[in-house]
């Protein structure tokens, strides 16, 4: 491979290709530091930027500013206010602080655009998006940003509107920026994964498209993110980075194909199976029988996915599927990183009513947080400040032992309504038993 890099089979059709003809009128800045990022086997973004600089002056100066950052070890972009008509967000404005040196890229805004759920594209669509962006912007697109947007990087204030008008006509809409509902993400899921326990794309679109007003007109305490993963492998990293994480799961027994299990043991060996499947179960819910079949204690299984990940032909999630909802995940600012907390251990996600129910839950959570969150306070930070029990009361959800790792260990608590609260639990258990 490294060889192929040195001697491309077809130099004009290679990631290291730089055009001979220069269409941009402005001479290139010297970029000795960036030039060092053109060697090596991984495709170089610098070579990509240089190709664009052959085409337009904006990228000539952008390269100049980037080199200046490399040299001085500082960034030179400042925010501001830019939006398209009718929206209050969706664009990350960038004005250069060193525009006197690099005037052509003095305005270099990014448009955040929501990709199709599951990040599916046809080549035709990719080319269409690229053509639109070359017409109105720098040509540079990031697939995708950390929140999940297609990032169209580098447009003047004026052209953001033209570009948006063009792609909005063929079905694309801006994502979120600022204190608002942000662009959501969902995994490939049911489209191509046997471990998928739900229709990720439908949940994704049900949630985000119902809060489109809260996305385009930022008026919430801070950002709010939805992410949907089809199984507890959580490929969308939803627990750590979504305010509202929806994860596919099941509540009946996992499906076991003993033939597949036996084949796995035959090809990998007994010891390997014991060491890598049986003893890796976090709740000791697996046992290997003497005849090389597997026994599952489904009541103790926590749906961690490990054994299913290893024995893809032997084990599968169960058939009674739904989702778990966790709320309050976020990154460091301001109280330190938080993971989401289980708020709904299980809900079905089959009928239209089920989807309506999750939409209502999200609306209740957002309303309560919009009402009670402080400025710049994420939902998880609010929960930490007011306590989970108060949050649950606020959104009308009953307590459940699935929400905790263990009960409280501190006796410093007033128990004024203990009998009443205990009675609620007993009544709920009775109601469940008779249902």
């Amino acid at each position: 491979m490294a060889e192929a890099q040195k001697t491309p089979k077809d130099p004009a059709r290679h990631s290291s290709f730089v055009p001979k003809e220069k269409k941009s009128s402005k001479p290139f800045h010297d970029t000795p530091m960036l030039d060092q990022l053109e060697s090596g086997p991984w495709p170089s973004f610098v070579t990509g930027l240089k190709r664009l600089a052959h085409d337009n002056n904006m990228m000539v100066d952008l390269l100049g500013q980037l080199e200046y950052s490399y040299k001085t070890r500082l960034g030179y972009w400042k925010g501001g206010t830019v939006s398209v008509f009718g929206y209050g967000g969706g664009i990350i404005p960038r004005f250069s602080e060193v525009a006197s040196m690099f005037p052509e890229s003095k305005e270099f805004h990014t448009l955040r655009v929501q990709p199709p759920a599951g990040n599916h594209y046809t080549t035709k669509l990719l080319r269409q998006l690229s053509n639109s962006w070359s017409k109105w912007g720098s040509g540079l697109i990031a697939f995708h940003g950390q929140t999940g947007n297609i990032m169209f990087i580098g447009a003047t204030s004026e052209n953001t509107q033209h570009f948006f008008d063009e792609i909005n006509e063929y079905g694309f809409d801006l994502g979120g920026a600022g204190p608002c509902v942000r662009t959501a993400m969902s995994c490939v899921g049911a489209a191509r994964c046997e471990q998928s326990c739900t229709n990720e794309h439908r949940i994704h679109r049900t949630l985000v498209n119902n809060f489109i007003d809260d996305m385009h007109r930022p008026a919430l305490p801070y950002k709010f993110k939805f992410k949907v993963s089809g199984c507890p492998n959580d490929c969308m990293n939803s627990i750590q980075r979504a305010d509202f994480a929806v994860i596919g799961t099941w509540r009946d027994d996992m499906q076991v194909d003993q033939k597949g299990v036996k084949e796995y043991i035959e090809s990998h060996g007994r010891k390997y199976t014991i060491d890598n499947v049986i003893t890796r179960c976090p709740t000791n819910a697996l046992s290997l029988n003497d005849d090389d079949t597997i026994e599952v204690d489904n009541k103790s299984c926590v749906r961690c996915m490990h054994c299913i990940n290893v024995m893809t032909k032997g084990l599968k999630p169960g058939k009674d599927r739904g989702v778990t909802v966790l709320i309050g995940g976020k990154r460091t600012l301001k109280i330190g990183d938080t993971m989401g907390t289980v708020i709904v251990p299980f809900m079905k996600m089959d009928s239209d009513e089920d989807f309506e129910k999750i939409r209502e839950l999200a609306a209740t959570v957002i309303d309560f947080w919009a009402e009670n969150g402080l400025e710049h306070e994420r939902c998880g930070e609010m929960i930490e400040r007011i306590g989970l029990a108060n949050f649950l009361e606020g959104i009308g959800i009953e307590v459940d032992p699935n929400m905790i790792t263990h009960p409280r260990t501190s006796s410093y608590i007033r128990l004024d309504d203990w009998d009443q609260e205990a009675q609620k639990w007993i009544d709920r258990q009775k109601a469940k038993a008779t249902a």
Partner: protein
């Protein structure tokens, strides 16, 4: 003028608030046909996934590493390859890998060859080091302490062989973040900016640029207070309390936190998003004080490789970096990697007590 503006406004096109587009219309036909009906998968070779549906249909996915930032040349080159050797349908993974779906195994070889001939690596599946999660950095962010694309490019050059092969104990997710907000998220190995000096305040600008009460409220340790400096309303920082996190910098750019020398890089390990085996885990600090050294950050690469290859040699199959350290223990981790253990590794933030060893569980 006002009239001219009014006329212009009238002509403005109202947005179609269509939100997130339906992915179904762009999906490979076999994925539409077998939606929700897949039976199992395997990996015939690194960089290739093979999924089999209950209907008997099969689909192969070729995963391609990209530079994430793509221009028309790259997009058309990749699309030409997909149109010639694939079937016109692609998707992107969360880590910016391109996935190309085809309905026949016979198409996989020529597709891989075409990507390789064009200088694009195929890999990133299973127990490989997949693409590094990628933030914006100096290219576009307003508060970056370092670059993102350059760090990723430098590291992926060094870890190229680990991307195209599947030789790690389990998958390895490396992340980068250009400030302490940590946009890159949790990773098996995370490379994050760590500032080491309080912000330098330009008192002439604060009153005009910053909403002072918001800035005061933003500080995690209440180290900022309003003050009059040289007769102007400004802000001052109690530098003894300040933890140099940079949280005040985004709402108040005159409080410059980035410094070419004192903004350093730190390495964290053991973050994990999956619920497989253990619950999701946060990454833990293991190394700091590394220089922000563009264009290739060699000191960072050295520490990352040291950790990565120690893990590769010592971890058991299916152990993620975090799982591995939980088994061998932190003393052994620091011993094996040769990284110094300092007082700074001991947490003193909220809930810090939970991270102290309150037992006699000690490995000798």
């Amino acid at each position: 003028m006002a009239q001219a503006q009014a006329v212009e406004k009238k002509q403005m096109r109202p947005p179609i608030e269509s939100g997130c587009p339906d992915g179904m219309q762009y999906m490979h036909p076999l994925m539409v046909k077998n939606f929700g009906n897949w039976k199992y998968h395997d990996r015939p070779r690194p960089g290739v996934l093979h999924h089999v549906a209950h209907s008997g249909d099969e689909i192969w996915t070729v995963r391609v590493g990209t530079q994430r930032q793509l221009g028309p040349y790259e997009i058309n080159l990749l699309c030409d390859i997909v149109d010639t050797y694939g079937e016109g349908h692609v998707r992107f993974t969360i880590r910016s890998n391109l996935e190309v779906m085809v309905s026949k195994w016979e198409k996989v070889g020529p597709l891989i060859q075409a990507f390789n001939d064009a200088g694009y690596p195929v890999g990133g599946t299973g127990n490989s080091v997949t693409m590094i999660s990628h933030t914006q950095g100096w290219l576009h962010c307003d508060i970056p302490g370092t670059d993102a694309s350059g760090v990723v490019k430098s590291l992926m050059d060094e870890l190229y062989e680990e991307f195209v092969k599947e030789e790690m104990p389990n998958r390895v997710h490396i992340t980068t973040s250009c400030c302490q907000i940590n946009c890159g998220g949790q990773g098996d190995i995370a490379i994050n900016v760590q500032h080491t000096k309080p912000p330098k305040i330009n008192h002439d600008l604060v009153a005009n640029v910053c909403e002072r009460p918001s800035v005061v409220a933003r500080c995690p340790v209440a180290a900022i207070r309003p003050a009059m400096v040289n007769g102007k309303p400004s802000l001052e920082v109690d530098e003894k309390k300040c933890i140099c996190c940079g949280a005040c910098y985004p709402p108040c750019p005159p409080m410059q936190i980035n410094d070419p020398v004192h903004s350093k890089l730190a390495i964290w390990v053991g973050g994990k998003n999956s619920n497989a085996r253990s619950k999701p885990m946060f990454q833990k600090l293991v190394a700091a004080g590394l220089p922000n050294n563009p264009p290739r950050w060699p000191e960072v690469a050295e520490v990352v490789k040291k950790i990565l290859y120690t893990y590769k040699n010592d971890a058991r199959d299916w152990e993620r970096v975090g799982d591995w350290v939980e088994r061998i223990g932190w003393p052994r981790f620091f011993e094996m990697t040769g990284l110094p253990f300092t007082k700074f590794h001991i947490d003193n933030w909220r809930g810090a007590r939970n991270s102290l060893n309150a037992s006699t569980h000690i490995r000798f």
